[in-house]
């Protein structure tokens, strides 16, 4: 089924999801909003996490 295409065929990364649900879409939003500064912090946190996971994997491979 096409409707399930991306669920069935692949794992969507958290960055792919965030790129849509945080940075695009309806401009006018709710009473509580996640600010641009917060979004930057989310990305920064995730990238630090991803790079540390990568480093750990490399270290595992070396050992």
């Amino acid at each position: 089924m096409q409707d399930d295409f991306y669920d069935i065929n692949k794992e969507i990364t958290i960055l792919d999801v965030l790129d849509r649900v945080l940075t695009k879409g309806v401009v006018i939003t709710g009473d509580v909003v996640i600010s641009v500064a917060d979004i930057d912090l989310i990305y920064l946190g995730l990238r630090l996490l991803l790079s540390s996971v990568e480093t750990m994997e490399k270290m595992k491979a070396v050992n």
């Binding site: 409707d3 295409f5 649900v21 945080l22 709710g30 996640i34």
Partner: protein, 274 residues
């Protein structure tokens, strides 16, 4: 996402996921959990009552720095909107769109109801698909003689030259190889984009990401989102499958995902956001 029932407690906030023109009739009911549909001016707001401890202005800032919380809740957000999208045209809202009361939500939807209705018409029968194409630089270098005329010309000249001239030509080849790789990347990304775009109604280019951000070893050569009429989806998939097969020998990798909630093509709302 917390499982809470609809109550009048003061510590509950309203989380807005999407708007639709009808109440979705789910094929597999139960997957939607405690999602509620509020009718507002002929539109249906998909909402959940959530706890202040998760989504108050102060707490959401704290929680989004917790990667496990963020990952689980962002994926749940996408899952619910995707579920609704399978049966109804949706206007998806961003993660963490929160209203402090039902009145506040109703006021917001009513204020823009006509625009939302127009937007739903615009989104009807169309799907958002993402296409990312990557290229294995090593494979391109292996095949560079057949992919670049400039390089194949130099190779020909080297064959028929004296050792001294061949050495100089060899150096020249090394110098131009990076430029030639760029030319090859441009040629293929244009070719792939043009073939797919013929089947699509709209497109938006996204930034080409570095390997560090794309989490791939290969070079990203195309990052585009298409808006496609549902009638053309089969042809779009066939066309991308064909190119995936055709270009695999030279190290092209296609990363095609969809249908996504139509976030990318909602920017028409910017015209009345101010």
């Amino acid at each position: 996402m917390n499982n809470v029932v609809m109550t009048a407690d003061n510590d509950k906030l309203i989380y807005l996921f999407s708007l639709t023109g009808n109440v979705p009739l789910f094929v597999n009911s139960g997957l939607e959990g405690d999602l509620l549909f509020l009718e507002i001016d002929g539109l249906y707001a998909a909402v959940k009552y959530v706890l202040e401890s998760d989504y108050s202005e102060e707490n959401i800032k704290k929680n989004i720095s917790d990667v496990a919380w963020l990952d689980a809740n962002v994926r749940e957000h996408l899952r619910l909107i995707t579920l609704i999208m399978q049966v109804e045209t949706v206007i998806p809202f961003n993660f963490g769109t929160i209203y402090k009361s039902e009145d506040s939500l109703r006021q917001f939807v009513s204020q823009y109801a006509n625009n939302f209705r127009e937007t739903l018409k615009y989104l009807e029968n169309r799907e958002e698909w993402s296409v990312k194409v990557f290229c294995d630089r090593k494979k391109i270098i292996e095949n560079i003689g057949t992919l670049s005329h400039n390089i194949s010309d130099i190779d020909q000249q080297i064959k028929s030259s004296s050792p001294g001239k061949a050495y100089i030509l060899g150096k020249k080849k090394k110098e131009i190889i990076q430029t030639e790789i760029k030319v090859i990347y441009n040629t293929f990304s244009k070719k792939i984009f043009t073939a797919l775009n013929e089947l699509c109604e709209e497109y938006r280019f996204n930034v080409i990401l570095s390997s560090e951000l794309s989490e791939k070893d290969e070079d990203m050569i195309l990052n585009v989102v298409f808006f496609i009429n549902k009638e053309n989806i089969d042809d779009f998939i066939k066309c991308s499958d064909m190119m995936t097969h055709e270009y695999s020998d030279i190290g092209m990798i296609f990363d095609i995902t969809g249908p996504w909630p139509p976030y990318t093509f909602l920017n028409i709302l910017q015209s009345y956001a101010g």
